[in-house]
Assembly symmetry: C2
Homo-oligomer: 356 residues x 2
């Protein structure tokens, strides 16, 4: 399950990477549950289950989004956790906490977004709960079937395997930076759920529009995960990298007791992120590694299967190797040399705090 | 699934009974889901699933409760929905939104309460999600097995059946009234999760202590539901009456297309509720019918099976009959005569608003 993620535009409230790991270790101890540690729990006779929550003020601001897009995203972030185990989504429940000004038409927009995403990926909303509260909170629990070819996990990366990712990284983080910039200059009060994003940003084909699309309309990488598991039968490893690529790499390396070396110049970063970074003197790799919310997958694959994987599914890119070393150690190489700048992971949260 | 319930101590924010029904009808339409309408969804090959959320400020106040009790209750309210379908609870996920001052020790207390209740009823916590937000929000999704003898539903009550309830009604509502009274006179700031309830109220055996116990420590009626389904094989009907007994009766009558006549003097109301009502000039039946949060079951049973049910499980009481009439009409009889006072259900929310 994905847990506390950095609030990129409210860095002061952001729990650190290490604090999150400590809380999850506590929950494992208190519950004695052997099911915790992957993106989904694998339940005997019942397949996969995962739950993820979007909280107003933490994960979204109503003045930056519309409710259709928010509904889509609340569904997609859960399906991304099913994809991380290479499962097939089946059923969703939706528990909503609604503020007083949330009426039937707002609820309808949110649900149409949820249903749109669910239908796109052949899942069904089967029930839910409605409660009142000060802020909008959208919790989705997703249930899925295990793929007949196997289950992908975080803890099964082996030395010698190639580190792969789907799609590209940094778009969602750069979009948040852009929105944050806007909110400092141009925010004004508006009706509930009415997007205040200037129309110029939404001009089709503009870099800004591409960034916002990546942030507001994530596509869970289900078919890529199925391609991978059909090829490997569950060998290698996989997880959802939605807390940032760096977090994903460290989580897999720790869970598997291995180390990794990553080539920074192989990390796929969209042109729009480079463009935005040039304009505002930002580091595009910082968005990719620490930005989060890209809803891409990161994993490892046996070296001999890599050529076939890349042929089967061109959304995968190799970015490094699994090697022996201290469990959880991730080293970054730039132009063939170990990069000083990004070697340390003692406190990832420091990185976040410096970037925004 | 249980939905928006009245906020007894914040009547001005309370969505009405009819509004709730309208929103749920909307969700059924937008999702096209055939699974919505009972306390749990019954999923092909996967058993029962239900989800319920407790929201700070709506369902609880941290100064009135402790976190162990809150954890217990967050679990129990979901198991009560599994009981309503006569299912067997198996797995739980817990999605928490935590305010900034919620640390490891608070999380631990909450989880120990959750685990305590789960273990008591042989369910396991298998995963969850942690997010940050301004208020504490506790969402639990519970999965269960269908009982081998059958499934109990809301929509299968038949004319001639006897209306039965488990346990007693009104204790939780009277406790809220008591707490509300206290908060107007004695609330003072205190540490997070430290109960501010005066110790005198908690004196073992006092009426106040009994009321608070009913409010803070609900026991889901799983074994009673199993007794019922073993006897009936799924005939009759059942639901969780946690939004108040009146709501439960109307919901079953509407879903089944029948009417009911209920004998007010047969509704089991605890002595502590009578005691509290005498002291503060309250109507004990109002607590029972509209108070909510008693987490008892209400249902109907074929008349010929009633004697055996009462022998098998003395927690059941017969309180009325299912009869022909306008779908959803519930009439109350007092001393053999139709009670004017409580016949109408055009707007249940008016009742709530007058009582507090």
């Amino acid at each position: 399950m994905t847990c506390v993620r950095p609030d990129l535009y409210e860095a002061e409230f952001m729990p650190s990477f290490e604090r999150e790991l400590k809380l999850i270790a506590g929950i494992k101890e208190w519950t004695g549950s052997p099911f915790i540690g992957d993106d989904c729990a694998v339940l005997p006779g019942r397949g996969l289950v995962t739950t993820d929550t979007l909280v107003e003020g933490t994960h979204f601001r109503l003045e930056w989004t519309d409710l259709l897009a928010l509904g889509w995203k609340a569904c997609a972030v859960n399906l991304s956790d099913i994809a991380a185990m290479a499962g097939r989504p089946r059923f969703l429940t939706v528990a909503l906490t609604m503020p007083g000004n949330f009426g039937t038409s707002e609820l309808r927009s949110l649900y149409l977004g949820l249903c749109d995403c669910a239908a796109r990926y052949r899942a069904r909303i089967v029930g839910g709960d409605l409660t009142s509260g000060e802020k909008l909170v959208i919790n989705v629990t997703a249930m899925g079937d295990v793929h007949e070819a196997g289950i992908m996990r975080r803890s099964t990366a082996s030395v010698g395997e190639i580190v792969v990712v789907t799609g590209s990284f940094g778009g969602s983080g750069a979009a948040l930076s852009l929105l944050n910039r806007l909110s400092q200059s141009e925010t004004r009060p508006g009706p509930l759920g009415a997007s205040l994003i200037p129309l110029a940003l939404l001009r089709p084909g503009s870099h800004s529009q591409k960034l916002l699309q990546m942030h507001f309309r994530p596509e869970p990488r289900l078919s890529s995960a199925w391609h991978l598991v059909e090829l490997t039968g569950g060998r290698g490893s996989l997880m959802d990298a939605s807390d940032g690529l760096a977090d994903g790499l460290v989580q897999i390396a720790r869970a598997s007791g291995v180390a990794m070396t990553i080539d920074l110049d192989k990390i796929p970063v969209p042109e729009a992120v480079y463009e935005y970074s040039r304009q505002w003197q930002k580091d595009p790799l910082a968005f990719a590694l620490y930005g989060g919310e890209d809803y891409e997958l990161v994993g490892t694959v046996p070296e001999e299967l890599l050529p076939e994987l890349l042929k089967l599914d061109p959304s995968f890119s190799p970015i490094g190797v699994v090697r022996e070393g201290r469990s959880g150690e991730v080293m970054f190489r730039e132009g063939g040399k170990i990069s000083e700048r990004l070697t340390g992971f003692a406190d990832l949260s420091n990185c976040f705090q410096h970037f925004w």
